[in-house]
């Protein structure tokens, strides 16, 4: 057993195992039968499960509804959007139909299904290949929205979602995470312990500190760890980093415990801040604990559509330097330009990413 594995391995292994165990699991999407195998995330599955890998027309709305018809009649569909942006075409079926089918008919139907949304970033992805819908979809009751930060979580969540016949589950996979190596679960954690979906999605500390609470999703958990490392080493600022695995369903306790200690909250997310995650964390803290932190900040993209020129793109996305500056500012630590990380581009760190688009 390898001691590390990639994000993309976690995705593929979860689906591969589930499809072996359960013949009702299908994969649908545009390009799911082509040689690129959705950025390698379903490599090898076509050869093993041939007719259960269903190539679809370019018809996001109907395919989503078709998944609902499949799911409510004994199959478990996994639909892949190779860019999350395409999911906007399916909002009617996701919101008006899928997320209502159980409740609206008084529990007569289950509406299982897993939707994979790949979030693009950098190398000219631009305004329509870089967005995420996780905060939008989290607005609606009765859905499960996740943005896993590592292969262990994504493996366990996909396995549990299929095993428990859950749905709809909307999962946001950051493209730049795909090829990153992470320490892997040991054998028993992976194959023997079968935690439930609702257990796995709970927020967890991925780093402990005393000065600042960072709440992050998806790839921003990795960025938060890097920023927290930097401020600890260079300025002695220590951070709690909380991985918010589920965007729309999480216990407030961990966040509240941390914030009551630090009194400083930084939220790092992969989409814009307005009507977004910082607002939601504060809403929950206020309503459920009547206790708000004294200082707040967010690490999110600038409020403009994503541009394509590298110079503009680097201004659009928060860099590690921006992140460190925000952590210093909220800690009232006076930092000079020279003391900040020299890396101005997020992409400089994720150099492995070369496409394929």
């Amino acid at each position: 057993m390898n001691t590390t594995w990639k994000y993309v391995d976690g995705i593929r292994e979860a689906m591969s195992n589930a499809m072996s165990e359960n013949t009702s699991v299908l994969i649908l999407g545009q390009g799911v039968r082509d040689h690129k195998a959705v950025f390698g995330s379903i490599s090898g599955l076509l050869e093993r499960f041939d007719e259960r890998i269903v190539e679809t027309p370019i018809a996001e709305e109907s395919i989503t509804g078709i998944c609902l018809g499949m799911g409510s009649n004994g199959l478990f569909p996994i639909m892949t959007h190779i860019r999350a942006d395409f999911g906007l075409l399916a909002m009617n079926q996701m919101v008006n139909m899928y997320s209502k089918y159980k409740y609206m008919y008084g529990g007569q139907f289950a509406a299982p299904g897993l939707f994979r949304f790949v979030i693009g970033r950098s190398w000219g992805q631009g305004a329509q290949h870089s967005q995420s819908l996780h905060t939008i979809l989290s607005h609606f009751p009765s859905v499960n929205v996740i943005a896993p930060s590592n292969p262990n979580d994504i493996y366990r969540l996909y396995s549990a979602a299929i095993r428990e016949n859950l749905g709809p589950v909307f999962s946001f996979e950051h493209r730049l995470l795909y090829d990153l190596e992470f320490p892997s679960l040991n054998y028993s954690e992976m194959y023997e312990t079968q935690s439930s979906f609702s257990e796995i999605i709970q927020p967890k500390y991925v780093r402990s500190g005393a000065d600042v609470t960072i709440v992050a999703t998806s790839i921003m958990v990795v960025e938060a760890m890097r920023a927290a490392d930097f401020v600890k080493t260079n300025f002695g600022i220590s951070c709690d980093v909380i991985d918010l695995c589920s965007v729309n369903e999480w216990s407030i306790e961990l966040v509240s415990e941390s914030v009551s200690k630090t009194n400083r909250l930084v939220v790092a997310d992969v989409t814009w801040g307005s009507f977004g995650l910082l607002g939601e964390v504060l809403r929950r803290l206020g309503l459920e604990k009547q206790a708000l932190p004294a200082k707040v900040a967010e690490v999110v993209p600038e409020p403009v559509p994503c541009p394509t020129a590298k110079e503009l793109e680097d201004m659009y996305y928060p860099s590690i330097s921006d992140f460190v500056k925000i952590l210093c500012d909220i800690s009232e630590y006076s930092v000079s330009e020279e003391e900040l990380p020299k890396e101005k581009s997020f992409r400089d760190f994720y150099l492995k990413f070369k496409g394929p688009f």
Binding site: T64, G69, M70
Partner: protein
Amino acid sequence: MSDLIYEAKRIRMIEELIIERYPLDVFQSPVHLSIGQEAVAVGVCSAVNSEDLLYATYRSHAFYLAKGGNLRSFFAELMGKVTGCCHGKGGSMHLASKAVGFMGTSAIVGSTLPVSVGAAFALKKLNLQSIVISVFGDGATEQGVFHESVNFASLNKLPILFVMENNQFAVNTALEARQSYDMEKLIRSYGIRYKHLGESFNPEEVKNAVENVVREIRDNSNPGFIEIDTYRYLEHVGILDDHKYGHRDVNRLEVWEKNDLVRNFEYDKSRLIEIENEIIEAYNLAMSDPSPEESDLYSDLK
């Protein structure tokens, strides 16, 4: 013959009771009445099996009842009672009864189309012998998802019958103002067999036409499409006659009143009394049923 016409008459009597009691505010739901369109529902449902799965629209009282949906649960659902077919969470526009293969209706035009296609895919994949009946109105064919759904059904040779109820109106807008395409040519272009049944005055004629199409679907596992002309006597939503506003063709109303078998059939009086008693009993039972409680608000969420 006589059984089908009594079934259609029963549905009309049920909706006439809704009209009669609507001013009392016992029905906590907007109603899109099927009056005039019962022969389609009765004819279609009598041409398929109880295991076949039917998806329909917000105007589906007739289809719910024709597919065998429980009458007391129907009234209870419209009254917002916990004994309703959807426990008071659906109302008139979201009827469903899985037990009789009535698989869901939606208030968004065209939105059950892809769901029904997915159900047909599941039936085929799981080697079940049933078929899907997907019911929608003329307006649904204007949605982009209509093309997407019909295309996928044809590509995958799915066992599905598309039933287009053409009442010629989308709310108050006539078909001519909405559609540039020829329905027959359009459907044939997908490689799907198309049948246009004219005015559906008689449920028996609908049944016979649908049976022929259904036989081909079962034999060949290929989609079929039937367009059925029908007439909605009342306004789009609500219980009133809206012919006085001048947006509808009064000549067609006359033709319908003259030929509508549900309206003009010479019924056996004692059978009608039996039906009326059944309806009143179900109505009274639903009236005495309990309302949902706070715990019901949060149940069946995920």
